[in-house]
């Protein structure tokens, strides 16, 4: 017997030993009883052992690196809180983007945790099950660190106190909420494509990379730290997403049309949700990093272009309506911000009109659209404010049945006309904001005809009462503090006091 033992196994061997061979064949239950959701979506898998994990992360290494990330993160958070980091923000308006993040995005991390836990239980292959379980833990870590981090801002600023309650009720938060509800109520393969591929791989860079870089630029040490700590897991999630799609397409040619339909659907759903981020980047970051348009060009047109070229070998095409989404990038943030400005009385964050300097930046970044379509609107509203006639829209808007966004978007190529589509289902008429959303409705009318649409629910008397005030109280908004304009808000008053104190010290 030779005594020359190899000191250490290679990464590939270690990975194989710690992930494979852990599964077993059920003996007293059928496989289909153990994995009851594995077949109804029509996906055909012939050989799960062909699954490749590009990141060969084993559980022991996972704990080691995650613990290191947590130690770094919490050291920064402690230091931020101890040193009154909130006073170092570029401007108090910035904090509104973070209110939207906590109420709109952090709960999605929790939803992703639940979704991946479900997939980690119900996918029959052991490789993807291990990866989905790790991702499920990551997502739980993300929501916890975000709540923990942002609890510091809750000590000083309004709008943070009821984020989970608001996420489940507030009209505009139904947009991200319903996106994830939709994904989690799909089958496990669709969920994997929806969140793992379309959302994580194709779209989340747009949220976590330029926006978090913006947080760094605006002095928000706390958010940038949890943002990049979360994002360090994201690269693994993205890789899982791309592996899922390649695996499904390699396993059986019949999978292609099913996968293509999911890619089309979830690209469009994700594009609609990320309109909130477009607005955060173009309007809510006092110091700008890049425009939504520029971010779209880098992360969708360029990175997505290379990706879909790579996937073309399987016959997969660029998502349907990608061209429409790309054209909309010149309008999206302006149309969304205008909507929130008009409905500031019903939002749990503050709004404002862009300053003349900010409008010049928007003109420069959106040379073909801003001066022509959006600047005149803001200038008119500024005039009205000066005359003491600040414009509030008091009509409850019609919502798109699929994305749940008020029907404010315009026709492709015709920014003067609101886009409006309808479908019939069992004798009822359903409304959609775009061809993308209408296609999704028509694909699964039984599902979307059951949407919990906030405006419909208000009219049906399910949201606390008949007046706007009743509804806002049901949302648990502190009226006069959480909502309305930035100017005159308690947040602004507090900030002005801090800045005045700083001036006094500086002499």
């Amino acid at each position: 017997m030779t005594m020359v033992a190899k000191a250490k196994l290679g990464l590939k061997q270690r990975y194989a030993l710690l992930t494979r061979g852990l599964d077993w064949e059920p003996s007293y239950q059928s496989k289909s009883a153990v994995y009851p959701y594995a077949e109804f979506e029509g996906i055909k898998i012939h050989d799960w052992s062909k699954w490749e994990d590009p990141f060969r992360l084993t559980m022991d290494a996972y704990w080691k690196y995650q613990a290191e990330k947590e130690r770094k993160l919490y050291a920064v958070l402690d230091s931020f809180a101890q040193n009154n980091g909130q006073m170092g923000l570029s401007d108090v308006r910035y904090i509104n983007a973070i209110k939207l993040f906590l109420t709109g995005v952090s709960p999605l991390e929790y939803q992703a945790h639940r979704g991946f836990a479900h997939v980690g239980r119900h996918i029959p292959g052991v490789g993807p099950r291990v990866a989905a379980q790790m991702q499920s833990l990551d997502e739980l870590r993300h929501v916890q660190t975000q709540i923990h981090t942002l609890s510091h801002y809750n000590k000083f600023f309004d709008g943070f106190h009821e984020w989970q309650h608001m996420h489940d009720r507030v009209w505009y938060l139904s947009v991200p909420k319903s996106f994830f509800d939709d994904a989690r109520t799909a089958g496990p393969f669709e969920y994997f494509i929806a969140i793992g591929f379309a959302f994580e791989y194709v779209l989340t860079n747009l949220l976590f990379v330029p926006f978090m870089s913006g947080a760094a630029y605006n002095g928000d040490l706390a958010t940038v730290t949890f943002g990049f700590s979360a994002q360090s897991d994201e690269s693994r999630h993205m890789t899982l997403g791309i592996e899922v799609i390649k695996f499904l397409l390699e396993q059986d040619p019949d999978n292609l049309p099913i996968v293509q339909k999911w890619v089309d659907k979830w690209f469009w759903r994700g594009h609609r949700v990320l309109g909130l981020v477009a607005m955060m980047m173009d309007y809510m970051l006092p110091k700008k990093i890049m425009s939504w348009r520029e971010a779209w060009d880098i992360y969708f047109t360029e990175a997505g272009g290379s990706l879909f070229e790579d996937l073309a070998r399987y016959g997969l095409k660029v998502p349907k309506y990608a061209d429409v989404a790309t054209a909309e990038a010149d309008h999206l943030s302006h149309q969304n911000w205008s909507t929130f400005y008009q409905y500031t009385q019903a939002a749990a964050f503050h709004t404002w009109l862009p300053t003349p300097q900010e409008m010049d930046w928007l003109s420069e970044k959106y040379p073909t659209t801003f001066d022509k379509h959006y600047r005149p609107r803001y200038e008119m509203w500024a005039e009205m404010e000066k005359e003491g006639k600040r414009f509030y829209n008091n009509a409850l808007p019609q919502l798109c049945t699929v994305c749940q966004i008020p029907m404010v978007y315009t026709e492709p190529g015709d920014p003067g006309t609101i886009a409006f589509r309808t479908s019939q289902h069992k004798g009822e008429t359903y409304h959609c904001c775009s061809d993308g959303c209408k296609d999704i409705f028509d694909g699964e009318p039984e599902k979307y005809s059951q949407s919990w649409l906030p405006v419909h629910q208000i009219f049906q008397g399910n949201c606390g009462g008949a007046s706007v005030e009743d509804v806002l109280k049901w949302y648990r908004m502190n009226l006069g503090a959480d909502n309305l304009d930035q100017a005159g808000s308690p947040d602004q008053k507090l900030w002005n006091e801090w800045m005045a104190a700083r001036q006094r010290v500086a002499g």
């Binding site: 290679g10 990464l11 590939k12 590009p54 990141f55 060969r56 992360l57 290494a61 690196y65 290191e68 990330k69 770094k72 860079n205 976590f208 990379v209 330029p210 978090m212 870089s213 913006g214 760094a216 630029y217 940038v224 990049f228 994002q231 360090s232 994201e234 690269s235 693994r236 993205m238 890789t239 791309i242 990093i289 890049m290 360029e302 990175a303 272009g305 290379s306 990706l307 070229e309 790579d310 070998r313």
Partner: protein
């Protein structure tokens, strides 16, 4: 259309030697700096070599330590004991 692979790392003390190793070992790599992050793009492929990072930091370095600094990437991953690679197929 050029097929760009990309890696984005935090702009931190731990990541800077990795950024340096990438730019030195991958001719034609283009570095974009944003607040807090550095995005490195290259046509076709990009590799981080263990030895190159180790020679800069003077200690053992496991390519999996990238997990502590990575923010995003584009391309198919190939990971082993001595390198971390990104490439588009063919």
């Amino acid at each position: 259309m050029p097929r760009i692979v990309s890696i984005t790392l935090q702009n931190t003390d731990a990541a800077r030697p990795i950024i340096e190793a990438i730019t030195e070992d991958n001719p034609g790599a283009v570095v974009h700096s944003f607040p807090g992050i550095v995005k490195i793009d290259r046509e076709g492929s990009l590799t981080v070599h263990r030895a190159s990072v180790e020679s800069r930091i003077g200690r053992d370095w496991d390519p999996q330590e990238l997990h502590l600094s990575i923010v995003s990437m584009a391309g198919n991953v190939d990971e082993d004991d001595d390198y971390f690679g990104l490439a588009w197929a063919h």
